[in-house]
Amino acid sequence: MEALFRNVRELVERAEKEQKLISEIMIEQEMLMTDRSREDIMIQMDRNLTVMEEAVEKGLKGVHSVSGLTGGDAVLLQAYREKGNTLSGDLLIDAVSKAVATNEVNAAMGTICATPTAGSAGVVPGTLFAVQNKLNPTREQMIRYLFTAGAFGFVVANNASISGAAGGCQAEVGSAAGMASAAIIEMAGGTPQQSSEAFAITMKNMLGLVCDPVAGLVEVPCVKRNAMGAANAVVAADMALAGVTSRIPCDEVIGAMFEIGQSMPSALRETAKGGLAATPTGKWLESKIFGGAVVGSGQ
């Protein structure tokens, strides 16, 4: 079965030519490729959206991982936000806290929806539920947000990678942030081309990000990288809506991400051997959690 689009350029061209939303092209492609009805597909995405809502709700009540490395930051952020004095703005801190909430639940072995992966599952819902308060979308528009995000993720997964072990964190949180940014554009009434610009701007600022989880756990620095991925997505969306464009076309940025991932040493691709995992404190935490010889020093 021939896909309706193989890259972002084809996706945007088709949306423009047929005067359709990117989410609509994604839904049509899903119907075509998997031979399922529109209703069926919408119901499944609605269920995924519900899982995301429940995860955020749970995280905002406060969860802690078994290792004790992460948890409770979403609660701190929401309490801070409610005081009304945030420097970076209410929406941004709301997005950050909800992204953190999702990843704290993930780290605590709770139920989440991978978007595109579990380690990067906070960015798309975090931004969605923050932007929701500003734009008041319908339930269908919220479901469409996930299809738009999915369309961009689909291109990255097939043309580059969404795996930290293969391409580093840029492939996970980088992709998630780009996907979120593109989806914000559609919900805010921007054009398909602006979605493409937003994705490119976001991804350009995530290039080179390595995957260096302390003790191999999806906790440090993953939770905070989701926070910054969400912030990056919102800011890039604003830039694209303002009319800022990317000098390097979106598909070429994705290509660059793939190339960078290929040349990343294995120590920085989810092996917990380099980067933050290899710092004295990172090693100390690892030995504290899993026992064995204490290497390095720490608090």
Binding site: A3, N48, T111, T117, A165, G216, L217
Partner: protein
Amino acid sequence: MKFKSVFDIIGPVMIGPSSSHTAGAARIGRVARDLFGRQPEWARVHLYGSFAETYKGHSTDVAIIGGLLDYDTFDERIKTSFEEAQKAGMSYEFIPETGHVDHPNTARIVIGDQESEMSMMGISIGGGKIEITELNGFPLRLSGNHPAILVVHEDRSGCIANVANCLYKYDINIGHMEVSRKEKGHMALMVIEVDQNVDKEVMDELTELPNITQVTRIAD
């Protein structure tokens, strides 16, 4: 295209913390269980690459055992799968390997009971998606996304035609098919991905065909 569905990207719904190392691992375990066709009594799991380095932190071991117990990626029982395995009478062992493999997230699962044993190699390619790359020494490519039939047969002429004819009789469309063998004239394997689940009746008929040794299926 490796990723065909938007739900490979927005999904799966799963127990954390890692789509590749937890959800993908559970899926690899579950396909092994499917192919074995029953609850194994023992499991020996060899882990390679990133799986070998980080399996404890990602609960890859817990997830693979969950899969071998037939749990889906979102099944809460994954968290306590080691205890569940004990209840089900399955012993297990994890062996981190240092050897080089093509994909960083690779697991070789050897499972068995008193009757037989089976060896399968699976890779987790990101976002919870997996591929099966080897079965009992036969190289193959199986996504686990579609219903599939695996036919072990003698490497003789007519086998493939007979199987295809049988599927045609029941109006089952073949989406993807691969044939491999270790050595000419000996044992061979057909991997057939189909569009709908295959009934027991069809399975029985396939098993009765000449030169067919074993038929197993993976349901959707």
